[in-house]
């Protein structure tokens, strides 16, 4: 009898607790999803901490951005959105927008204008890759190389195209295990003009040409799927040269002091920013919008660059970029948008990839297994 009573009591308690938490949200909480690691850390310091101090709202970090698209779709189907704001790449933002999983945003209404009064949509300019996307940073996929493995009497690599110079720079390479960026580099380095890359890549011959170029280094290449792999492979001396996000290379070079250099030319620009999931209740939405207005203003975006070498997406933030918060070095020369680094840059065509990713991905994976 006693056991039954205990069981009943605990069941009642569980049910009560479950109901209290049914909304999944306390009135003063907000769940923000991001990539984790140094990147989340920079957001915590530049956005979350000041905001929490000013408003008393507590922000819960969820490091699910790599699976954000799939999880949002599952939440949407289950009808229970537990996230308030999600950090994704521009290409994913377009997909989430297409799927109706992200909310369309009126940028000028939601976001703060620049200090000189320029409207938000003008200040962000081309970085607004989709109606649902609120840009935060410009980052790039670029190449790092081991300075101590450059053959004697040879100039160190300066460009993404040097990855194909297997005679000049012997050694293993690391490339991303997906077609995006690799296909463009292959054509570009095979002599296709920058403006024509996507036109050529649309044709069968163009795709064959890109694969033929990649074939020249295929057996020397390790294919990565997580951004942390290339820095690790570089640090271990496993590879001579590899692509990864520029912020990761910055931390290998500046924070860990590894003998690694950057080959900036033809870096592949990409964007990262926020999306708001559809289906939030009115009070949650109001809270998110308030947070967005504060955390994407000119000063906040510039502040983030103190902690990580990614360029702020607002034009008005660029002049405010200062020094690294701990190392005290100037951050500007490490930014992908710095004029010295951005002589030749490649801008991803997201809409093109939305069409071709299914097809090219199948071909790319089939090519990899051959």
């Amino acid at each position: 009898m006693k056991l039954t009573k205990t069981l009943l009591a605990s069941t009642a308690l569980t049910v009560a607790a479950g109901m209290a938490n049914a909304d999944g949200h306390m009135a003063n909480e907000m769940t923000i999803v991001s990539w984790g690691g140094a990147y989340s850390n920079s957001q915590q310091k530049a956005y979350h901490d000041p905001y929490m101090e000013a408003t008393g709202i507590s922000i819960i970090n969820d490091e699910s951005s790599p699976e954000a698209v799939a999880k949002l779709r599952a939440m949407n189907e289950a009808g229970n959105i537990t996230w308030d704001l999600v950090d994704v790449e521009a290409a994913d933002a377009i997909r989430l927008c297409d799927e109706g999983l992200a909310m369309e945003i009126d940028h000028d209404e939601v976001l703060a204008p620049a200090p000189d009064g320029t409207s938000a949509s003008e200040d962000f300019g081309d970085t607004i890759a989709s109606d649902c996307f609120i840009p935060q940073i410009v980052f790039s996929t670029t190449f790092g190389y081991r300075t101590d493995m450059v053959p004697e009497g040879v100039e160190p690599p300066t460009s993404a195209c040097d990855v194909f110079e297997i005679e000049k720079y012997p050694g293993k390479r690391a490339l991303n295990k997906r077609p995006i960026a690799n296909m463009e580099w292959a054509l570009l380095c095979d002599g296709v003009a920058y403006e024509d890359v996507y036109d050529v890549l649309e044709t069968e011959e163009g795709q064959a040409r890109a694969f033929a170029k990649l074939d020249t280094i295929k057996d020397q290449t390790i294919w990565w799927s997580a951004g942390a792999e290339t820095p690790q492979l570089l640090a271990d001396g496993e590879i001579f040269m590899g692509s990864t996000f520029n912020g990761r290379l910055f931390s290998v070079i500046a924070e860990q002091g590894q003998p690694v250099g950057m080959a900036w030319d033809w870096q592949m620009f990409d964007l990262d920013g926020w999306i708001v999931p559809t289906g939030l209740s009115d009070d949650r939405l109001a809270r998110v919008m308030d947070y967005l207005k504060v955390s994407t203003d000119t000063q906040r975006l510039a502040d983030q660059a103190k902690y990580i070498s990614y360029g702020p997406a607002r034009a008005s933030s660029a002049p405010l970029v200062g020094q690294h918060a701990e190392l005290g070095i100037d951050m500007a020369p490490h930014m992908p948008t710095d004029p010295n680094n951005a002589e030749n840059t490649f801008v991803n065509n997201y809409e093109w990839w939305a069409d071709y990713r299914d097809d090219l991905d199948a071909k790319f994976q089939a090519w990899l297994t051959q």
């Binding site: 790599p66 699976e67 698209v69 799939a70 779709r73 997909r95 927008c97 297409d98 799927e99 109706g100 293993k172 295990k177 390790i222 294919w223 799927s225 271990d236 001396g237 496993e238 809409e351 093109w352 939305a354 069409d355 071709y356 990713r357 299914d358 097809d359 991905d361 199948a362 071909k363 994976q365 089939a366 090519w367 990899l368 297994t369």
Partner: protein, 546 residues
């Protein structure tokens, strides 16, 4: 005895019922009680395990999205023959206009675009572009009606014309700030006979505004689509003389004018949006994927595709899945085999040592079992890479030259080594528990009867340990066939499994239908192998212990 029972009839219980039914009742009660006891577990398993799997697998054939999003187009398209090389009739384009218009209002057109893009490259942007520009087509009529009479500009006039008088009074009186429900739209009686298309379109519009957007219908201007429907109705010259409600004069006026209206050539208008709308391929894809259920995902999962002439193989440079299935099965077999080779002697030693030493060694077997999978996999990376521990040692020993270090990772070798290590405890534990039950006296008896060591082992000991090998092999094989994280980290391009592609389609490409089809095939293969195993070895010969 038989006669005696026949004489006295069936045996009776004390309460007068037959003994048989009384026994049955007692047994039934017992069974029910047993069922009640396992009910929580049964429900738990059903709800959290079977149902989600069934739901996920169902997606591999589900395809309602096309007919749900383009209902009018797919109905009309059913009769179209694409083989002749002719485009669908203009009516199909007009239906497409209606469907895409409604879909873009409900923001469903891009979702359909990404679905069809799995089958035909370029459809994604085709739908996105069309959604943005489809409104222009209807505005041709909207502008002309509004230029004709400003009556048509006002949402209130529309509501009075299309809605019933009662509803219109309620809607006008409704305060959208108040906490009451918006009065649901009601068609005016007889209007659907007078203006059938307009009435149907306006109903969709009203339903969308009131129920999906939850806006005040009194303040929303009708879609451009409603104006094109009105044009279509009026050009038929319906008999509006009997209608005397609000807007009757304007309706009559408009009917007189529509004959001179500029019209929209829908096929040409769609071609202006994107020339792909005049490509047979696009229409054939929509037609092929119109049915509610499709075999397309399963065909895709075995490197085939649907075409107007039935299923056909994909081109060579897109074939990948059959290869991956075969590789997954082959490598799982290799891993199972190496687990047997490595695990058997270890289990034998464990079973034959004194309990104290055996327990100590057992902890060594279990220790990696308790360590995180990621840690073990990463440790193998450090061990196996070219500048890693094993290669360094070999170079130091002079076994391999410094410039020809062994490639032990990012290929099949890496996956096999790491997975063998990770799955080894699953082989050792069942083997050990079976060997523990084989009395050592059997071996001694065999030897005392003159068997050599080898014969004693092979003829006496080994056959008794086979159930352990069977149990271990099933565990290791089935676990490795669905393994994901280790092949992803150490497999490179040649050492990845089918599960890596499933994960990719679930989390990255969002092609859940294909992922479900791949998963269903994998499940079927495993069940098939299990069945074969049962036929050949017999599942009774599997022992997990004692």
């Amino acid at each position: 005895m038989t006669d005696a029972t026949q004489d006295s009839g069936p045996m009776m219980a004390a309460d007068g019922t037959t003994l048989k039914s009384s026994l049955n009742r007692a047994l039934r009660r017992q069974k029910l009680r047993a069922l009640m006891l396992i009910a929580p577990l049964l429900i738990f398993v059903l709800v959290t395990f079977i149902a989600p799997i069934a739901d996920m697998l169902f997606r591999s054939v589900e395809n309602q999205i096309v007919s749900d999003t383009l209902p009018r187009t797919t109905t009309l398209l059913a009769e179209w023959e694409g083989d002749g090389g002719d485009l669908p009739a203009p009516e199909v384009f007009e239906a497409l206009y209606t469907d895409v218009f409604i879909a873009q209002e409900r923001k469903l057109h891009t979702r359909l675009g990404s679905r069809l893009n799995y089958e035909l490259t370029g459809v994604s942007s085709l739908f996105r572009k069309s959604g943005r520009r489809v409104e222009d087509m209807g505005e041709v009529y909207q502008d002309q009606f509004e230029d004709l009479d400003s009556f048509w500009k006002d949402s209130e006039n529309w509501n009075a014309l299309m809605g019933s008088d009662d509803w219109f009074a309620d809607q006008t009186a409704w305060d959208d700030k108040a906490d009451t429900r918006q009065p649901a739209f009601e068609l005016r009686e007889g209007i659907e006979d007078l203006l059938p298309q307009t009435a149907a379109t306006f109903e969709i519009f009203a339903d969308f505004v009131q129920n999906e957007d939850e806006d005040n219908l009194a303040k929303e201007d009708p879609w451009a689509l409603v104006y094109s429907a009105l044009y279509n109705d009026l050009i038929q010259e319906p008999d509006v003389s009997g209608y005397a409600g609000p807007g009757s004069a304007e309706l009559l006026e408009a009917m007189g004018a529509v004959g001179t209206f500029e019209t929209v050539d829908y096929p040409a208008a769609f071609e202006k949006i994107d020339k792909d709308w005049h490509s047979i391929d696009v229409w054939q894809t929509i037609q092929t994927y119109s049915p509610d259920f499709t075999s397309g995902y399963f065909l895709n999962a075995v490197d085939m595709k649907k075409s107007p002439d039935g299923p056909e193989m994909r081109p060579d440079n897109e074939q990948i899945y059959i290869k991956l299935f075969i590789r997954t099965l082959f490598m799982s077999l290799v891993i199972t085999g190496s687990c047997i080779l490595l695990g058997y002697p270890v289990a034998w030693i464990l079973a034959n040592l004194p309990a104290r030493t055996a327990n100590l060694l057992m902890i060594l077997v279990l220790l990696p079992f308790w360590t995180s999978l990621l840690v073990r996999t990463s440790a193998w990376k450090v061990m196996l890479q070219q500048q890693g521990v094993i290669n360094d040692t070999l170079v130091w020993l002079g076994v391999v030259a410094d410039d020809s270090r062994l490639a032990l990772i990012n290929n099949q070798t890496g996956t096999i080594i790491a997975m063998t290590h990770i799955l080894l405890p699953f082989m050792i534990l069942p083997l050990y528990s079976v060997m523990k039950t084989i009395p050592p006296s059997y071996l001694r008896a065999a030897k005392s009867l003159g068997a050599t060591n080898w014969t004693a082992f092979w003829r006496v000991y080994f056959p008794q340990s086979v159930p352990g090998i069977g149990a271990g092999s099933i565990l290791v094989f089935i676990l490795s066939i669905g393994y994901y994280i280790t092949p992803e980290l150490v497999g490179g391009t040649t050492g990845t499994f089918i599960s890596n592609r499933i994960a990719y389609h679930i989390s990255s490409s969002l092609n859940w239908g294909l992922a479900a089809a791949l998963g269903a095939i994998l499940l079927a293969v495993v069940l098939g192998l299990y069945w074969a195993y049962d036929k050949i070895v017999g599942i009774d010969n599997v022992k997990l212990g004692g």
